[in-house]
């Protein structure tokens, strides 16, 4: 039995089923509200859901059972001295390397830390007070911190990604920060304006846990890899039908293996030729192979958003992604073949394997 937490524009869906067959919808929570992101912390079993009401704003909910009762966390919320600033959306909640510690990322772009299993949250002020912040620019989804990559076994080291203000790195648990901009090529701005720009639109970034200095990145227009912990990046999009896309997933058991889902481009965010294909690399991004067996292969005009693709960590690897069409697809064999787990949900914002 596999459990998925599927965030959508119209609530959270808890899906359970056997890989290879349609999953059952066992619960719908937060009807009518946008569930930006939901996941289960594997350490505690506790579930988190970031919920944004169109009327009443964003908040974080906690549940021990996702099909049971959810209760509100306290925050994230900006302290009184950060005037005129309110949290608009909570994009990510990520377990840290210390017991009971989690990080959250929000719009506006801020990092938050909880030391009590997500009950309360504190703003990371050094990153909030980054001297270049006035030069940061929003992407289409806002100006948000959407990715947090802890370093396995080293709680002081973090990499975070901001759209559109690039990669930020710390080696002292967030006391000081530096950028990881080298090699990123923002082709969406004029060449003469690229040198020194902060407008680096990272769509998603993921660390290879067995080789933590390696990260893969889906950028606004290309796919990159870093082998020096995010300090510098090299383009690895050759062989993909398009450089644009949102999510990237790394096989937790193999630092050479990663998956992306290319879209035509920024102006047309649908799969090339209307064919939904997941592209897989087994050699660190040197070559890519498209996998579409079991996925819609004609007239499919959907978008897969940055938090809507996940792996289960099993062997063979299970992979799941959701689309703005309201469909959720899965693979029980590392992406070789795919099945439809759910259809006609609301537009999917996030997918996480939770059990």
């Amino acid at each position: 039995m596999t459990e998925l937490l599927v965030g959508t524009k119209k609530g959270l869906f808890v899906l359970r089923g056997e890989p290879g067959e349609p999953f059952d919808i066992v619960h719908r929570a937060f009807p009518g509200d946008v569930v930006e992101y939901a996941f289960r912390d594997p350490r505690s079993g506790r579930c988190f859901a970031s919920v944004t009401s169109g009327f009443y704003g964003p908040r974080l909910f906690i549940a021990e059972d996702p099909a049971g009762e959810w209760r509100q966390a306290t925050g994230p919320a900006f302290p009184e001295d950060v005037a005129d600033t309110t949290v608009a959306r909570i994009w990510i909640v990520e377990p840290a390397e210390e017991p009971g510690v989690l990080y959250a990322g929000t719009d506006p772009a801020a990092l938050w830390r909880s030391e009590d299993d997500g009950e309360t949250w504190e703003l990371n002020r050094p990153l909030w007070n980054a001297p270049t912040r006035p030069e940061w620019r929003a992407g289409a989804g806002g100006l948000m911190l959407h990715t947090v990559c802890p370093w396995p076994g080293e709680p002081d080291r973090l990499a975070v990604a901001i759209s559109a203000a690039g990669v930020w790195l710390t080696d002292d648990r967030g006391e000081t920060w530096r950028t990881g901009y080298v090699g990123l090529d923002p082709q969406y701005i004029p060449e003469e304006a690229r040198e020194g720009t902060h407008t680096l639109c990272v769509h998603k970034m993921e660390r290879a846990p067995l080789r933590p200095e390696r990260l893969f990145m889906q950028f606004h227009g290309s796919v990159y890899r870093s082998d020096d912990a995010g300090e510098s990046w090299a383009d690895f999009a050759a062989g993909l039908p398009a450089g644009f896309g949102f999510p990237v997933v790394v096989d937790p058991a193999d630092p050479e293996s990663a998956y992306v889902i290319p879209l035509v481009g920024a102006e047309d965010r649908v799969p090339p030729d209307g064919r939904v294909r997941v592209f897989e690399t087994r050699d660190g991004g040197a070559t890519w192979a498209g996998r579409g067996e079991g996925l819609p292969q004609a007239e499919a005009y959907l978008t897969i958003l940055r938090q809507a693709f996940d792996a289960d960590g099993g062997s063979p690897l299970g992979l799941y992604f959701g689309a703005t069409s309201g469909d959720v697809f899965g693979s029980a064999d590392g992406g070789s073949t795919w099945f439809t787990a759910a259809t006609r949900l609301a537009p999917v914002t996030s997918v996480r394997v939770s059990g």
């Binding site: 524009k9 946008v34 944004t52 009401s53 169109g54 009327f55 009443y56 704003g57 908040r59 509100q72 919320a77 900006f78 302290p79 009184e80 005037a83 005129d84 600033t85 309110t86 949290v87």
Partner: protein
Amino acid sequence: MVVVTLRSPLRDLAEGSRQVDVEGATVGEALRALERRHPRIVGWILDEHGRVREHVNVFLGGARVAEDAPVAADDVLHVLPSISGGRR
């Protein structure tokens, strides 16, 4: 006392109360008093800086009012979702 009237889902957060009597000299003070009475409502009507959220309407005497508007005894504040908030 000022009367605050609530609809779902705010009513559910206020343990089912359709209206709550609170003290306060301004809309903001009255809504903060509501939050103290029903802590689950914190962050829903007012943001973290005490301002009425963009897509929430607070009406007093038929007019939409902001958090700094004065209120008097027996005033009734109606809290409703704005039609601008449902686009997502």
